[in-house]
C-alpha cells in the first residue's frame, strides 16, 4: 500500500488551519494553563479530536443523522460552562 503524502499534507494543513484559534484550541489553552494536570488536558483534547474526526471519516456524511447537532452542542455548552464555573468560583460547589 502506497501512501499519498500529498493528500496527507493537504489534510494536515486544512485541518490544522481550521483548528488554529478554534474553540477546542482555546479550551486547551485555558485548561492547559490552569489545570493541575496539563498532560491529561493534552491527552483528553487530542483523543477527543482524533475520535471525532475518525467518526467523521467513517460515516462520510457527518453525525447529524445519528445525533441531533443541537443536542450535542447544547450538552457541550453545559460542559464548558461547568468547567468555567469551577475555575471562576472554586469554592462554591460544595
Amino acid at each position: 500500500m502506497s501512501f499519498d503524502w500529498n493528500l496527507i499534507g493537504v489534510s494536515f494543513i486544512t485541518v490544522f488551519l481550521s483548528e488554529l484559534g478554534d474553540k477546542s484550541q482555546l479550551a486547551a489553552i485555558a485548561l492547559g494553563g490552569s489545570s493541575s494536570s496539563p498532560k491529561a488536558v493534552f491527552f483528553g483534547t487530542a483523543s477527543a479530536l482524533v475520535l471525532a474526526s475518525f467518526i467523521g471519516v467513517l460515516l462520510g456524511e457527518g453525525t447529524a443523522q445519528i445525533l441531533p447537532e443541537q443536542l450535542v452542542k447544547g450538552i457541550a455548552a453545559i460542559g464548558f460552562a461547568l468547567l468555567a464555573i469551577r475555575l471562576l468560583w472554586p469554592d462554591s460547589e460544595d
Binding site: G44, A46, S53, G79, A84
Partner: protein, 141 residues
C-alpha cells in the same frame, strides 16, 4: 445521561482538588508544571485519579463540541473527494494532535507569566465565551 456522567466527572475532579489541597493554596492556584515533589502512597493514587478526572472532563466536553464541527466537515469533504479516507484521517489526526499540543503549551507558557488567580479568571471567562458561542450556534441553526 452523558451530561450526568460529565457532571459527575467534573465534580469528582473538583473534590479531588479540594482534598489534596495544601492549607494555603489549592493545586489549581499553583503555576502548572511546578508541582510539589511527589509525595508517596495515598497521594500517588490521588494524582492518578486527578489525571483521569481531568482527562475525562476534557475529553467529553471537547468531543461533544467538536462533533459535526467544521474540522469534521473539512475532513469528510477531503475524504469524499479523494476516496482515501484512511490517508485523510492520518493527516487530520496529526493536525489535531499538533493543535492540541500547541494549545496546552501556550497555556503552560501563560501559566509561567501570569499570576494563577488571573489565569484562572481569564481561563474561566474564555470557557464561558466558548459555552455562549455554542449556545449561539444551537439557537442560530
Amino acid at each position: 445521561m452523558l451530561s450526568n456522567l460529565a457532571l459527575r466527572v467534573f465534580l469528582t475532579d473538583n473534590e479531588r482538588n479540594m482534598k489534596d489541597a495544601p492549607v494555603t493554596s489549592p493545586p489549581s492556584m499553583q503555576p502548572a508544571g511546578t508541582e510539589q515533589p511527589i509525595k508517596k502512597s495515598p497521594q500517588a493514587t490521588d494524582a492518578k485519579a486527578t489525571f483521569w478526572g481531568v482527562f475525562l472532563s476534557t475529553f467529553v466536553t471537547i468531543f461533544l463540541a467538536e462533533l459535526g464541527d467544521k474540522t469534521q466537515v473539512a475532513t469528510l469533504l477531503i475524504s469524499a473527494e479523494s476516496h482515501k479516507p484512511l490517508t485523510v484521517f492520518v493527516g487530520a489526526a496529526l493536525a489535531l494532535i499538533s493543535t492540541s499540543l500547541v494549545g496546552v503549551l501556550v497555556g503552560q507558557w501563560l501559566a509561567k507569566h501570569i499570576s494563577p488567580e488571573t489565569l484562572d479568571t481569564l481561563a474561566g471567562i474564555l470557557l464561558l465565551i466558548i459555552s455562549v458561542g455554542l449556545v449561539a450556534d444551537v439557537i442560530g441553526l
